[in-house]
């Protein structure tokens, strides 16, 4: 067992884990943050996307020990004071989900897209950037609409705060 320490959703966490523990297992099983999902377990589907030091990564393909000292953001850390994050609100408003399994990863990727590509996203950009997230229900249409609206809303609500995410 080896000790790992990191900051998850603003809180310092620490645990003794086996080296083979994946980041997604650490989040779900040690921290009980089960919003991050395991879909394919082969870095294809994107259900496990979290932010590692500000960048979207597939947490099924990162060792937890590689993240020692890092800052991790998960879907549970987006809402603040009981209010949904603008991207979450946009997914609700535009019905960007059906079964919801891919949604945490979609939203974490969407916030990352905004950080890299800005608040005014055309459909083509969103579809290309969603390359690494698979949805088996929606046909993506409403997800794309939700991300465009969420990106705009993030710009309107607090550009500085969300740019840092």
């Amino acid at each position: 067992m080896t000790t790992v320490s990191m900051t998850v959703n603003g809180k310092a966490v620490s645990a003794d884990i086996e080296p083979r523990t994946l980041l997604v297992q650490f989040l779900r099983e040690n921290l009980r943050l089960t919003g991050t999902h395991v879909g394919c377990d082969t870095s294809q589907c994107g259900a496990c996307v979290v932010h590692l030091d500000g960048q979207a990564v597939k947490s099924c393909t990162v060792l937890a020990l590689s993240c020692d000292g890092a800052t991790v953001g998960t879907i549970e850390g987006l809402a603040s004071d009981g209010a949904l994050h603008p991207m979450q609100e946009a997914f609700r408003e535009h019905h960007g989900l059906q079964c919801g399994f891919c949604t945490p990863g979609m939203i974490m990727s969407a916030v990352d897209i905004v950080a890299r590509c800005g608040h005014h996203l055309d459909e083509q950009t969103i579809r290309e950037e969603l390359e690494g997230n698979i949805c088996r229900c929606t046909g993506y249409h409403n997800i794309v609409k939700a991300i465009a609206a969420g990106a705009e809303a993030m710009g309107a609500s607090s550009p500085m705060q969300h740019a840092a995410e």
């Binding site: 080896t2 086996e18 080296p19 083979r20 994946l22 377990d41 082969t42 870095s43 294809q44 994107g46 996307v49 590692l52 960048q55 979207a56 990564v57 597939k58 393909t61 990162v62 060792l63 020990l65 590689s66 020692d68 990727s109 990352d112 897209i113 890299r116 950037e129 390359e131 690494g132 997230n133």
Partner: protein, 267 residues
């Protein structure tokens, strides 16, 4: 995943000394090939030496007419580097075509070329540009480095530290992606440096990256897609799998070569 020992050195020297002492260890870079391979039990090292803490291995530097990329530099950093976009846009474009955004945030150039997957993108750029692969022990020309399917000239415990790319006046990469995996079914990197013209193919060869001498000779006469219009690629030695048979890949290689030359000639 099965259990293994884990080491996290913070310097190249420590990484090398661990490699010399720890039995049956593998280096962990971005992990986007190694970890899935271990999950499937296709690789089972008893220890991992994680290079993510070795800061001296990451970074991009423009040095005269060369671009020096540290082995632990992520694909996303290459894709987004203003220096590379300016001096060698073909390389930034290649990095942009790897996997998906999340994979590009983790995957590294050193990991990619050390693995030498026959469908990986970087080997084509290394060979076409005549890159030098620098390790903690020596310097290797790309032509000598890639020795076969998932095989390189690297010795046990040898660590790639950086890749030095000469800047080419005209270069471009054309890739036909597998629509599911985004790996290359055929990818062709063309580079012209003075009178030296190289055409390197990835995704298609059973032994990994290879050059097309006939195409190179034709392009030396005139650097234009017209020069290679009638040229065919032999399906001998090309990969045949559920995605594409050798004849189809041969056809794709010729088409990708023409597209890459058209793009490079327009630069």
């Amino acid at each position: 995943m099965y259990a293994f020992d884990y080491h996290r050195p913070d310097s190249l020297r420590k990484a090398a000394s661990l490699a010399a002492t720890v039995e049956d260890a593998k280096f962990l870079a971005g992990g986007h090939t190694l970890l899935p391979t271990m999950k499937q039990r296709l690789a089972s090292p008893s220890a991992l030496i994680d290079l993510n803490r070795v800061k001296e291995l990451a970074g991009i530097e423009l040095r005269g007419r060369t671009i020096v990329i540290g082995a632990m530099t992520r694909h996303a950093s290459v894709e987004q580097s203003p220096e590379i976009q300016q001096a060698l846009p073909a390389l930034a474009e290649l990095a942009h075509l790897i996997g998906d955004p999340q994979v590009r945030h983790r995957g590294t150039i050193g990991g990619s070329i050390a693995n030498n997957d026959p469908a990986a993108d970087y080997p084509a750029a290394c060979v076409a540009l005549g890159a030098t692969i620098v390790t903690n022990k020596r310097k290797l020309a790309a032509d000598e480095f890639f020795t076969g399917l998932f095989d390189t000239a690297l010795e046990d415990g040898e660590i790639i530290t950086k890749v030095v790319f000469p800047v080419a006046s005209r270069a471009a990469y054309a890739k036909f992606r597998n629509p599911a995996s985004r790996y290359a079914l055929a990818g062709v990197f063309v580079a012209k440096r003075g009178s030296d013209i190289r055409v390197a193919v990835t995704g298609a060869g059973e032994s990994g990256v290879f050059r097309l001498p006939e195409f190179e000779e034709a392009l030396k006469k005139r650097f234009s897609p017209k020069s290679i219009e009638g040229l065919k690629v032999s399906p001998d030695g090309l990969i045949g799998d559920i995605h594409a048979d050798p004849a189809y890949r041969a056809q794709l290689v010729a088409v990708m070569a023409r597209r890459a030359v058209a793009k490079a000639a327009a630069r």
